[in-house]
Protein backbone atom coordinates (compact mmCIF):
# COMPACT_ATOMS: atom_id res chain seq x y z
CA UNK A 1 0.00 0.00 0.00
CA UNK A 2 1.41 3.39 -0.97
CA UNK A 3 1.10 6.17 1.57
CA UNK A 4 -1.65 8.65 0.75
CA UNK A 5 -0.95 11.21 3.44
CA UNK A 6 2.12 12.87 4.98
CA UNK A 7 1.63 10.75 8.10
CA UNK A 8 4.89 9.33 9.41
CA UNK A 9 2.97 6.40 10.87
CA UNK A 10 1.52 5.59 7.49
CA UNK A 11 4.94 5.78 5.85
CA UNK A 12 6.45 3.36 8.35
CA UNK A 13 3.60 0.93 7.89
CA UNK A 14 3.72 1.26 4.13
CA UNK A 15 7.45 0.48 4.21
CA UNK A 16 6.58 -2.87 5.72
CA UNK A 17 8.26 -2.22 9.06
CA UNK A 18 6.54 -2.97 12.35
CA UNK A 19 5.12 0.22 13.79
CA UNK A 20 4.93 1.05 17.47
CA UNK A 21 2.41 3.45 18.92
CA UNK A 22 1.53 4.30 22.46
CA UNK A 23 -0.85 6.61 24.18
CA UNK A 24 -1.00 9.36 26.77
CA UNK A 25 -4.03 10.46 28.69
CA UNK A 26 -4.30 14.24 29.13
CA UNK A 27 -4.35 15.63 32.66
CA UNK A 28 -7.45 16.44 34.69
CA UNK A 29 -6.59 20.10 34.75
CA UNK A 30 -5.09 22.74 32.55
CA UNK A 31 -1.46 21.82 33.06
CA UNK A 32 -0.35 21.19 29.51
CA UNK A 33 3.19 20.39 30.61
CA UNK A 34 1.94 17.14 32.09
CA UNK A 35 1.20 15.82 28.63
CA UNK A 36 4.55 17.05 27.32
CA UNK A 37 6.30 15.25 30.16
CA UNK A 38 4.58 11.95 29.40
CA UNK A 39 5.37 12.30 25.73
CA UNK A 40 9.04 13.07 26.47
CA UNK A 41 9.34 9.77 28.30
CA UNK A 42 8.27 7.69 25.33
CA UNK A 43 9.01 9.76 22.25
CA UNK A 44 12.19 7.93 21.21
CA UNK A 45 10.58 4.54 21.58
CA UNK A 46 7.41 4.91 19.55
CA UNK A 47 6.47 6.16 16.10
CA UNK A 48 3.30 7.94 17.06
CA UNK A 49 1.45 8.85 20.22
CA UNK A 50 -2.32 8.65 20.70
CA UNK A 51 -3.94 11.28 22.83
CA UNK A 52 -7.09 9.93 24.37
CA UNK A 53 -10.33 11.87 24.19
CA UNK A 54 -11.96 12.02 27.61
CA UNK A 55 -11.44 8.30 27.96
CA UNK A 56 -13.91 6.37 30.09
CA UNK A 57 -15.96 9.57 29.90
CA UNK A 58 -13.90 11.26 32.58
CA UNK A 59 -13.47 14.95 31.78
CA UNK A 60 -9.92 15.96 30.93
CA UNK A 61 -7.95 18.47 28.94
CA UNK A 62 -9.06 18.07 25.34
CA UNK A 63 -7.28 15.78 22.92
CA UNK A 64 -7.15 18.46 20.23
CA UNK A 65 -5.11 20.88 22.35
CA UNK A 66 -2.88 18.05 23.55
CA UNK A 67 -2.05 16.79 20.05
CA UNK A 68 -1.19 20.30 18.96
CA UNK A 69 1.21 20.54 21.89
CA UNK A 70 2.90 17.30 20.82
CA UNK A 71 3.07 18.46 17.24
CA UNK A 72 4.76 21.67 18.32
CA UNK A 73 7.31 19.48 20.13
CA UNK A 74 8.06 17.87 16.78
CA UNK A 75 6.29 14.61 17.62
CA UNK A 76 3.79 12.52 15.65
CA UNK A 77 0.45 12.53 17.43
CA UNK A 78 -2.70 10.55 16.75
CA UNK A 79 -5.83 12.52 17.53
CA UNK A 80 -8.44 10.37 19.21
CA UNK A 81 -11.92 11.63 18.64
CA UNK A 82 -15.15 10.21 20.04
CA UNK A 83 -18.60 10.82 18.64
CA UNK A 84 -20.13 10.76 22.11
CA UNK A 85 -19.55 14.44 22.77
CA UNK A 86 -19.61 16.14 19.39
CA UNK A 87 -22.08 16.35 16.58
CA UNK A 88 -21.05 16.37 12.94
CA UNK A 89 -20.53 20.12 12.96
CA UNK A 90 -18.09 20.01 15.87
CA UNK A 91 -16.34 16.90 14.55
CA UNK A 92 -15.70 18.38 11.12
CA UNK A 93 -14.59 21.62 12.68
CA UNK A 94 -12.15 19.89 15.05
CA UNK A 95 -10.79 17.80 12.19
CA UNK A 96 -10.02 20.98 10.28
CA UNK A 97 -8.51 22.58 13.37
CA UNK A 98 -6.22 19.60 13.84
CA UNK A 99 -5.33 19.53 10.16
CA UNK A 100 -4.38 23.19 10.30
CA UNK A 101 -1.56 22.13 12.67
CA UNK A 102 -0.66 19.25 10.37
CA UNK A 103 -1.99 16.59 12.65
CA UNK A 104 -1.88 13.70 10.23
CA UNK A 105 -3.45 10.84 12.16
CA UNK A 106 -6.89 10.39 13.60
CA UNK A 107 -8.48 7.54 15.52
CA UNK A 108 -12.24 7.43 15.08
CA UNK A 109 -14.17 6.14 18.08
CA UNK A 110 -17.69 6.12 19.40
CA UNK A 111 -16.45 6.47 22.98
CA UNK A 112 -17.44 4.93 26.26
CA UNK A 113 -20.89 5.69 27.51
CA UNK A 114 -20.95 8.71 29.83
CA UNK A 115 -22.35 6.57 32.60
CA UNK A 116 -18.80 5.36 33.31
CA UNK A 117 -17.42 8.84 33.84
CA UNK A 118 -17.58 11.82 36.14
CA UNK A 119 -20.71 13.28 34.53
CA UNK A 120 -23.22 10.46 34.24
CA UNK A 121 -25.95 13.12 34.11
CA UNK A 122 -24.66 14.48 30.80
CA UNK A 123 -26.43 14.30 27.46
CA UNK A 124 -24.63 12.25 24.90
CA UNK A 125 -24.55 13.17 21.26
CA UNK A 126 -23.92 10.14 19.05
CA UNK A 127 -25.02 12.07 15.99
CA UNK A 128 -22.84 9.66 14.00
CA UNK A 129 -21.04 6.48 15.00
CA UNK A 130 -17.39 5.51 14.68
CA UNK A 131 -17.85 3.98 11.21
CA UNK A 132 -19.56 7.09 10.00
CA UNK A 133 -16.76 9.22 11.47
CA UNK A 134 -14.30 7.16 9.42
CA UNK A 135 -16.43 7.90 6.36
CA UNK A 136 -16.55 11.56 7.29
CA UNK A 137 -12.78 12.01 7.53
CA UNK A 138 -12.22 10.07 4.32
CA UNK A 139 -14.84 12.15 2.56
CA UNK A 140 -13.32 15.41 3.73
CA UNK A 141 -9.84 14.23 2.78
CA UNK A 142 -10.54 12.45 -0.49
CA UNK A 143 -13.42 14.49 -1.89
CA UNK A 144 -12.39 17.78 -0.35
CA UNK A 145 -15.93 18.36 0.81
CA UNK A 146 -17.91 18.91 3.95
CA UNK A 147 -20.62 16.39 4.80
CA UNK A 148 -23.12 19.02 3.80
CA UNK A 149 -21.70 18.91 0.28
CA UNK A 150 -19.85 22.23 0.17
CA UNK A 151 -16.25 22.32 -1.00
CA UNK A 152 -13.68 22.85 1.67
CA UNK A 153 -10.46 24.70 1.19
CA UNK A 154 -7.32 22.58 1.74
CA UNK A 155 -8.58 19.14 2.68
CA UNK A 156 -7.33 17.53 5.90
CA UNK A 157 -4.49 15.10 5.19
CA UNK A 158 -5.19 12.46 7.77
CA UNK A 159 -4.33 8.80 8.01
CA UNK A 160 -7.54 7.29 9.32
CA UNK A 161 -7.62 4.77 12.11
CA UNK A 162 -10.12 3.09 14.36
CA UNK A 163 -10.22 0.70 17.25
CA UNK A 164 -11.34 -2.86 17.14
CA UNK A 165 -12.14 -5.28 19.90
CA UNK A 166 -11.67 -8.87 18.74
CA UNK A 167 -12.89 -10.11 22.12
CA UNK A 168 -16.29 -8.50 22.37
CA UNK A 169 -19.44 -10.46 21.67
CA UNK A 170 -20.72 -11.80 19.43
CA UNK A 171 -17.31 -13.11 18.42
CA UNK A 172 -18.56 -14.54 15.14
CA UNK A 173 -19.21 -11.12 13.63
CA UNK A 174 -16.12 -9.33 14.91
CA UNK A 175 -14.18 -9.92 11.70
CA UNK A 176 -17.20 -8.90 9.64
CA UNK A 177 -17.47 -5.74 11.65
CA UNK A 178 -13.87 -4.92 10.83
CA UNK A 179 -14.72 -5.53 7.19
CA UNK A 180 -17.41 -2.88 7.57
CA UNK A 181 -14.87 -0.43 8.97
CA UNK A 182 -12.60 -1.20 6.05
CA UNK A 183 -15.49 -0.57 3.68
CA UNK A 184 -16.04 2.72 5.49
CA UNK A 185 -12.45 3.64 4.69
CA UNK A 186 -10.36 2.84 7.75
CA UNK A 187 -6.64 2.51 7.09
CA UNK A 188 -5.19 1.36 10.39
CA UNK A 189 -6.55 -0.41 13.44
CA UNK A 190 -5.42 -0.43 17.03
CA UNK A 191 -6.93 -3.40 18.81
CA UNK A 192 -8.23 -3.75 22.32
CA UNK A 193 -5.65 -5.07 24.82
CA UNK A 194 -4.79 -8.64 23.97
CA UNK A 195 -4.42 -11.12 26.82
CA UNK A 196 -6.17 -14.09 25.24
CA UNK A 197 -3.69 -14.79 22.49
CA UNK A 198 -5.37 -17.99 21.32
CA UNK A 199 -8.57 -16.13 20.65
CA UNK A 200 -6.70 -13.32 18.97
CA UNK A 201 -5.01 -15.82 16.66
CA UNK A 202 -8.37 -17.24 15.78
CA UNK A 203 -9.65 -13.76 14.97
CA UNK A 204 -6.58 -12.97 12.88
CA UNK A 205 -7.16 -16.14 10.94
CA UNK A 206 -10.66 -14.94 10.10
CA UNK A 207 -9.16 -11.59 9.14
CA UNK A 208 -6.70 -13.26 6.79
CA UNK A 209 -9.38 -15.53 5.34
CA UNK A 210 -11.31 -12.41 4.44
CA UNK A 211 -8.17 -10.79 3.03
CA UNK A 212 -8.57 -7.85 5.42
CA UNK A 213 -4.93 -7.97 6.57
CA UNK A 214 -3.98 -6.74 3.10
CA UNK A 215 -6.41 -3.86 3.27
CA UNK A 216 -5.81 -2.42 6.71
CA UNK A 217 -2.78 -2.18 8.98
CA UNK A 218 -3.50 -3.96 12.25
CA UNK A 219 -1.60 -2.84 15.33
CA UNK A 220 -1.97 -5.33 18.17
CA UNK A 221 -2.89 -3.63 21.44
CA UNK A 222 -1.11 -4.58 24.65
CA UNK A 223 -1.34 -3.27 28.20
CA UNK A 224 1.01 -4.39 30.97
CA UNK A 225 -0.58 -5.26 34.30
CA UNK A 226 0.77 -3.33 37.25
CA UNK A 227 -0.59 -5.80 39.74
CA UNK A 228 -2.73 -8.89 40.17
CA UNK A 229 -5.47 -6.57 41.36
CA UNK A 230 -5.44 -4.75 38.05
CA UNK A 231 -5.62 -8.06 36.17
CA UNK A 232 -8.66 -9.07 38.20
CA UNK A 233 -10.26 -5.69 37.73
CA UNK A 234 -9.77 -5.81 33.97
CA UNK A 235 -11.12 -9.34 33.84
CA UNK A 236 -14.22 -8.70 35.90
CA UNK A 237 -15.06 -5.06 35.56
CA UNK A 238 -14.06 -3.78 32.16
CA UNK A 239 -16.66 -4.59 29.51
CA UNK A 240 -15.30 -6.35 26.46
CA UNK A 241 -12.01 -7.32 28.10
CA UNK A 242 -10.86 -10.93 27.86
CA UNK A 243 -8.31 -11.87 30.51
CA UNK A 244 -7.86 -15.65 30.73
CA UNK A 245 -7.70 -17.27 34.19
CA UNK A 246 -4.12 -18.43 33.62
CA UNK A 247 -2.97 -14.85 33.25
CA UNK A 248 -4.67 -13.76 36.46
CA UNK A 249 -3.23 -16.82 38.18
CA UNK A 250 0.24 -16.03 36.92
CA UNK A 251 -0.01 -12.48 38.24
CA UNK A 252 -1.37 -13.62 41.61
CA UNK A 253 1.28 -16.32 41.83
CA UNK A 254 4.14 -13.90 42.39
CA UNK A 255 4.90 -11.73 45.42
CA UNK A 256 3.23 -8.35 45.50
CA UNK A 257 6.48 -6.45 44.98
CA UNK A 258 7.33 -8.59 41.96
CA UNK A 259 3.94 -8.31 40.28
CA UNK A 260 4.66 -5.24 38.20
CA UNK A 261 7.78 -6.92 36.87
CA UNK A 262 5.72 -9.98 36.01
CA UNK A 263 3.18 -7.76 34.24
CA UNK A 264 5.91 -6.32 32.04
CA UNK A 265 7.23 -9.81 31.35
CA UNK A 266 3.82 -11.03 30.23
CA UNK A 267 3.48 -8.00 28.00
CA UNK A 268 6.83 -8.60 26.33
CA UNK A 269 6.12 -12.30 25.84
CA UNK A 270 2.81 -11.39 24.23
CA UNK A 271 4.50 -9.01 21.82
CA UNK A 272 7.02 -11.71 20.87
CA UNK A 273 4.22 -14.13 20.12
CA UNK A 274 2.12 -11.53 18.30
CA UNK A 275 5.06 -10.69 16.04
CA UNK A 276 4.78 -14.13 14.46
CA UNK A 277 1.15 -13.69 13.48
CA UNK A 278 0.73 -12.91 9.82
CA UNK A 279 -1.10 -9.63 9.38
CA UNK A 280 0.06 -7.98 12.62
CA UNK A 281 1.80 -4.81 11.41
CA UNK A 282 2.85 -3.36 14.69
CA UNK A 283 1.93 -2.71 18.29
CA UNK A 284 -0.08 -0.27 20.26
CA UNK A 285 1.24 -0.16 23.81
CA UNK A 286 -1.24 1.25 26.27
CA UNK A 287 0.60 1.60 29.56
CA UNK A 288 -2.18 3.25 31.50
CA UNK A 289 -0.67 5.93 33.78
CA UNK A 290 2.55 3.93 33.49
CA UNK A 291 4.14 5.57 30.49
CA UNK A 292 7.62 5.29 32.01
CA UNK A 293 7.54 1.55 31.31
CA UNK A 294 7.03 1.92 27.57
CA UNK A 295 10.77 2.28 26.77
CA UNK A 296 11.57 -0.94 28.61
CA UNK A 297 8.77 -2.86 26.89
CA UNK A 298 9.78 -1.61 23.46
CA UNK A 299 13.44 -2.33 24.06
CA UNK A 300 13.02 -5.79 25.53
CA UNK A 301 10.58 -6.73 22.79
CA UNK A 302 13.31 -6.10 20.25
CA UNK A 303 11.48 -3.20 18.66
CA UNK A 304 14.43 -0.81 18.71
CA UNK A 305 15.71 1.18 16.95
CA UNK A 306 12.61 2.86 15.65
CA UNK A 307 12.81 3.53 11.93
CA UNK A 308 13.23 7.00 10.52
CA UNK A 309 11.31 7.90 7.40
CA UNK A 310 11.42 10.99 5.30
Amino acid sequence: MNPKTPSKLEKILASGQLAVTSECGPPRGSNGDAIAKKAEMIKDYVDAINITDNQTSVTRLCSLAAVIRLKLMGLEPILQMVTRDRNRIALQSDILGAASFEINNILCLSGDHQQFGDNPQAQNVFDIDSMQLIQTVRYMRDEGKFLGGDDLEKSPQMFVGAACNPFADPFEIRARRLAKKVAAGVEFIQTQCIYNLDKFELWMKQIRDMGLHEKVYILAGVTPFKSAGMAKYMKNRVPGMDVPDEVVKRMSGVDKDKQSEEGIKICIESIQRLKDIEGVRGFHIMAIEWEEKVPEIVEKSGLLPRPSVS
Partner: protein, 222 residues
Protein backbone atom coordinates in the same frame (compact mmCIF):
# COMPACT_ATOMS: atom_id res chain seq x y z
CA UNK B 1 -47.89 3.25 24.53
CA UNK B 2 -46.44 6.00 26.66
CA UNK B 3 -44.99 4.64 29.85
CA UNK B 4 -44.86 6.73 32.99
CA UNK B 5 -44.52 6.36 36.72
CA UNK B 6 -45.79 8.41 39.60
CA UNK B 7 -43.61 11.06 41.15
CA UNK B 8 -42.68 10.71 44.82
CA UNK B 9 -45.52 11.93 47.03
CA UNK B 10 -43.41 14.67 48.60
CA UNK B 11 -42.76 16.26 45.24
CA UNK B 12 -46.50 16.36 44.50
CA UNK B 13 -47.23 17.76 47.96
CA UNK B 14 -44.65 20.45 47.23
CA UNK B 15 -46.74 21.64 44.28
CA UNK B 16 -50.04 21.89 46.13
CA UNK B 17 -49.09 22.55 49.75
CA UNK B 18 -50.93 25.88 49.79
CA UNK B 19 -54.09 24.57 48.11
CA UNK B 20 -57.35 23.80 49.80
CA UNK B 21 -59.25 22.22 46.95
CA UNK B 22 -57.68 20.30 44.11
CA UNK B 23 -58.81 18.37 41.11
CA UNK B 24 -56.89 15.20 40.36
CA UNK B 25 -57.37 14.17 36.76
CA UNK B 26 -56.45 10.70 35.54
CA UNK B 27 -56.33 9.44 31.98
CA UNK B 28 -57.88 6.28 30.68
CA UNK B 29 -55.28 5.51 28.03
CA UNK B 30 -51.58 4.59 28.26
CA UNK B 31 -51.09 5.60 31.88
CA UNK B 32 -53.99 3.40 32.91
CA UNK B 33 -52.46 0.44 31.14
CA UNK B 34 -49.11 1.00 32.84
CA UNK B 35 -50.74 1.51 36.25
CA UNK B 36 -49.49 5.02 36.72
CA UNK B 37 -52.38 7.44 36.21
CA UNK B 38 -55.68 5.64 35.76
CA UNK B 39 -58.78 5.77 37.90
CA UNK B 40 -57.27 3.52 40.55
CA UNK B 41 -54.09 5.54 40.83
CA UNK B 42 -56.14 8.75 41.03
CA UNK B 43 -57.96 7.33 44.06
CA UNK B 44 -54.72 6.21 45.69
CA UNK B 45 -53.09 9.61 45.20
CA UNK B 46 -56.19 11.39 46.48
CA UNK B 47 -56.21 9.52 49.76
CA UNK B 48 -52.46 9.77 50.18
CA UNK B 49 -52.61 13.54 49.76
CA UNK B 50 -55.55 13.92 52.14
CA UNK B 51 -53.75 11.85 54.76
CA UNK B 52 -50.58 13.85 54.37
CA UNK B 53 -52.52 17.10 54.83
CA UNK B 54 -54.34 15.73 57.89
CA UNK B 55 -51.02 14.83 59.47
CA UNK B 56 -50.05 18.47 59.15
CA UNK B 57 -53.35 19.49 60.70
CA UNK B 58 -54.70 20.78 57.40
CA UNK B 59 -57.59 19.76 55.27
CA UNK B 60 -57.56 19.08 51.56
CA UNK B 61 -60.63 18.69 49.45
CA UNK B 62 -60.03 16.48 46.46
CA UNK B 63 -62.19 15.82 43.46
CA UNK B 64 -61.27 12.75 41.41
CA UNK B 65 -61.93 12.62 37.69
CA UNK B 66 -60.57 10.31 35.04
CA UNK B 67 -60.94 11.38 31.43
CA UNK B 68 -60.99 9.14 28.41
CA UNK B 69 -57.91 10.96 27.07
CA UNK B 70 -56.16 14.09 28.25
CA UNK B 71 -54.37 14.63 24.96
CA UNK B 72 -57.71 15.32 23.35
CA UNK B 73 -59.51 18.68 23.21
CA UNK B 74 -62.92 17.07 23.27
CA UNK B 75 -62.48 15.07 26.46
CA UNK B 76 -60.75 17.96 28.21
CA UNK B 77 -63.93 19.97 27.72
CA UNK B 78 -65.71 17.63 30.14
CA UNK B 79 -64.22 19.39 33.16
CA UNK B 80 -64.86 22.94 31.97
CA UNK B 81 -67.86 23.39 34.24
CA UNK B 82 -66.18 22.31 37.44
CA UNK B 83 -62.56 23.29 37.06
CA UNK B 84 -62.97 26.84 38.39
CA UNK B 85 -63.98 25.56 41.80
CA UNK B 86 -60.44 24.29 42.45
CA UNK B 87 -57.14 25.90 43.34
CA UNK B 88 -55.13 23.61 41.11
CA UNK B 89 -55.24 20.59 38.86
CA UNK B 90 -52.95 17.65 39.47
CA UNK B 91 -52.80 15.76 36.21
CA UNK B 92 -51.99 12.08 36.20
CA UNK B 93 -51.62 11.99 32.44
CA UNK B 94 -48.36 11.81 30.53
CA UNK B 95 -46.52 15.03 29.73
CA UNK B 96 -48.70 15.51 26.69
CA UNK B 97 -51.90 15.38 28.71
CA UNK B 98 -50.55 17.79 31.32
CA UNK B 99 -49.68 20.31 28.61
CA UNK B 100 -52.97 19.97 26.78
CA UNK B 101 -54.69 20.60 30.09
CA UNK B 102 -52.55 23.64 30.80
CA UNK B 103 -53.11 25.03 27.30
CA UNK B 104 -56.83 24.65 27.55
CA UNK B 105 -57.23 26.15 31.01
CA UNK B 106 -54.95 29.18 30.85
CA UNK B 107 -55.57 30.56 34.33
CA UNK B 108 -55.51 27.28 36.21
CA UNK B 109 -52.28 25.98 37.78
CA UNK B 110 -51.67 22.46 36.44
CA UNK B 111 -49.10 20.15 38.01
CA UNK B 112 -47.75 16.83 36.80
CA UNK B 113 -48.13 13.84 39.10
CA UNK B 114 -46.16 11.56 36.81
CA UNK B 115 -42.72 11.32 35.32
CA UNK B 116 -43.21 10.43 31.68
CA UNK B 117 -40.52 8.03 30.60
CA UNK B 118 -40.79 6.47 27.20
CA UNK B 119 -42.68 4.87 24.36
CA UNK B 120 -42.66 1.19 25.01
CA UNK B 121 -44.65 -1.78 26.13
CA UNK B 122 -44.98 -4.41 28.82
CA UNK B 123 -42.51 -7.26 28.45
CA UNK B 124 -44.37 -9.09 31.17
CA UNK B 125 -46.61 -8.13 34.07
CA UNK B 126 -44.95 -5.26 35.89
CA UNK B 127 -42.05 -4.81 33.45
CA UNK B 128 -42.08 -2.12 30.80
CA UNK B 129 -39.32 -1.19 28.44
CA UNK B 130 -38.62 1.32 25.74
CA UNK B 131 -38.90 0.59 22.03
CA UNK B 132 -39.11 3.82 20.04
CA UNK B 133 -37.77 7.35 20.29
CA UNK B 134 -39.89 8.76 17.51
CA UNK B 135 -37.00 9.63 15.24
CA UNK B 136 -39.39 10.45 12.42
CA UNK B 137 -37.70 8.23 9.84
CA UNK B 138 -38.03 4.64 10.89
CA UNK B 139 -35.06 2.42 10.06
CA UNK B 140 -36.51 -0.81 11.45
CA UNK B 141 -36.57 -2.16 7.91
CA UNK B 142 -32.78 -2.13 7.91
CA UNK B 143 -32.27 -3.47 11.40
CA UNK B 144 -34.34 -6.63 11.52
CA UNK B 145 -37.18 -4.88 13.31
CA UNK B 146 -35.12 -3.89 16.35
CA UNK B 147 -34.42 -0.23 16.96
CA UNK B 148 -30.77 0.60 17.69
CA UNK B 149 -31.60 4.26 18.17
CA UNK B 150 -33.70 3.37 21.16
CA UNK B 151 -32.18 0.17 22.41
CA UNK B 152 -28.46 0.71 21.92
CA UNK B 153 -27.12 2.90 24.72
CA UNK B 154 -24.94 4.70 22.17
CA UNK B 155 -27.55 4.65 19.43
CA UNK B 156 -24.98 3.07 17.12
CA UNK B 157 -26.30 2.54 13.64
CA UNK B 158 -23.39 0.21 12.93
CA UNK B 159 -22.90 -1.73 16.14
CA UNK B 160 -22.18 -3.65 18.22
CA UNK B 161 -19.55 -1.68 20.10
CA UNK B 162 -16.59 -3.28 21.78
CA UNK B 163 -18.37 -3.53 25.10
CA UNK B 164 -21.10 -5.99 24.15
CA UNK B 165 -20.75 -8.91 26.55
CA UNK B 166 -22.64 -12.17 26.36
CA UNK B 167 -25.67 -10.48 24.97
CA UNK B 168 -25.65 -7.65 27.48
CA UNK B 169 -25.05 -3.97 26.99
CA UNK B 170 -21.86 -2.57 28.43
CA UNK B 171 -23.71 -0.01 30.51
CA UNK B 172 -25.89 -2.47 32.39
CA UNK B 173 -26.00 -6.23 32.67
CA UNK B 174 -29.80 -6.12 32.85
CA UNK B 175 -30.05 -4.58 29.40
CA UNK B 176 -29.84 -6.68 26.28
CA UNK B 177 -27.35 -5.41 23.70
CA UNK B 178 -29.49 -4.13 20.84
CA UNK B 179 -26.95 -5.25 18.27
CA UNK B 180 -26.84 -8.74 19.67
CA UNK B 181 -30.63 -8.81 19.28
CA UNK B 182 -30.38 -7.50 15.72
CA UNK B 183 -27.76 -10.09 14.79
CA UNK B 184 -29.74 -12.91 16.38
CA UNK B 185 -32.80 -11.94 14.42
CA UNK B 186 -30.92 -11.45 11.16
CA UNK B 187 -29.63 -14.95 11.65
CA UNK B 188 -33.08 -16.32 12.37
CA UNK B 189 -34.31 -14.64 9.21
CA UNK B 190 -31.42 -16.10 7.22
CA UNK B 191 -30.33 -12.56 6.37
CA UNK B 192 -27.04 -12.19 8.20
CA UNK B 193 -25.54 -10.79 5.00
CA UNK B 194 -27.62 -7.66 5.59
CA UNK B 195 -25.27 -6.93 8.48
CA UNK B 196 -22.43 -6.26 6.05
CA UNK B 197 -24.19 -3.21 4.67
CA UNK B 198 -23.16 0.06 6.28
CA UNK B 199 -26.04 2.13 7.55
CA UNK B 200 -25.41 5.66 6.41
CA UNK B 201 -25.32 8.84 8.44
CA UNK B 202 -28.81 9.63 9.65
CA UNK B 203 -30.80 12.73 8.96
CA UNK B 204 -31.86 13.76 12.46
CA UNK B 205 -33.87 16.73 11.29
CA UNK B 206 -37.06 14.71 11.64
CA UNK B 207 -36.12 13.91 15.23
CA UNK B 208 -36.12 16.18 18.28
CA UNK B 209 -33.07 17.98 16.85
CA UNK B 210 -35.15 19.52 14.08
CA UNK B 211 -37.26 21.42 16.59
CA UNK B 212 -40.80 20.61 17.78
CA UNK B 213 -42.53 18.46 15.23
CA UNK B 214 -45.94 18.83 13.75
CA UNK B 215 -48.06 17.02 11.20
CA UNK B 216 -50.70 18.82 9.17
CA UNK B 217 -53.14 16.63 7.28
CA UNK B 218 -55.18 18.92 5.10
CA UNK B 219 -57.47 16.09 4.10
CA UNK B 220 -58.62 15.87 7.70
CA UNK B 221 -58.74 19.57 8.53
CA UNK B 222 -62.16 21.18 8.71
Amino acid sequence: MIVAERKPLDEIIGFIKDCKKILIVGCNECVTVCYAGGKKEVAILASALKMAFLKEGKELEVKEVTLERQCDQEYLEEIRDIIDQYDAVVSMACGVGVQFMAEKYQSMPVYPALNTLFMGGAEEMGVWSERCQGCGQCILGQTAGICPITRCAKRLLNGPCGGSTQGHCEINKDLPCAWQLILDRLKALGRLDDYDRLISIKDWSTERSGGPRKIVREDLQQ
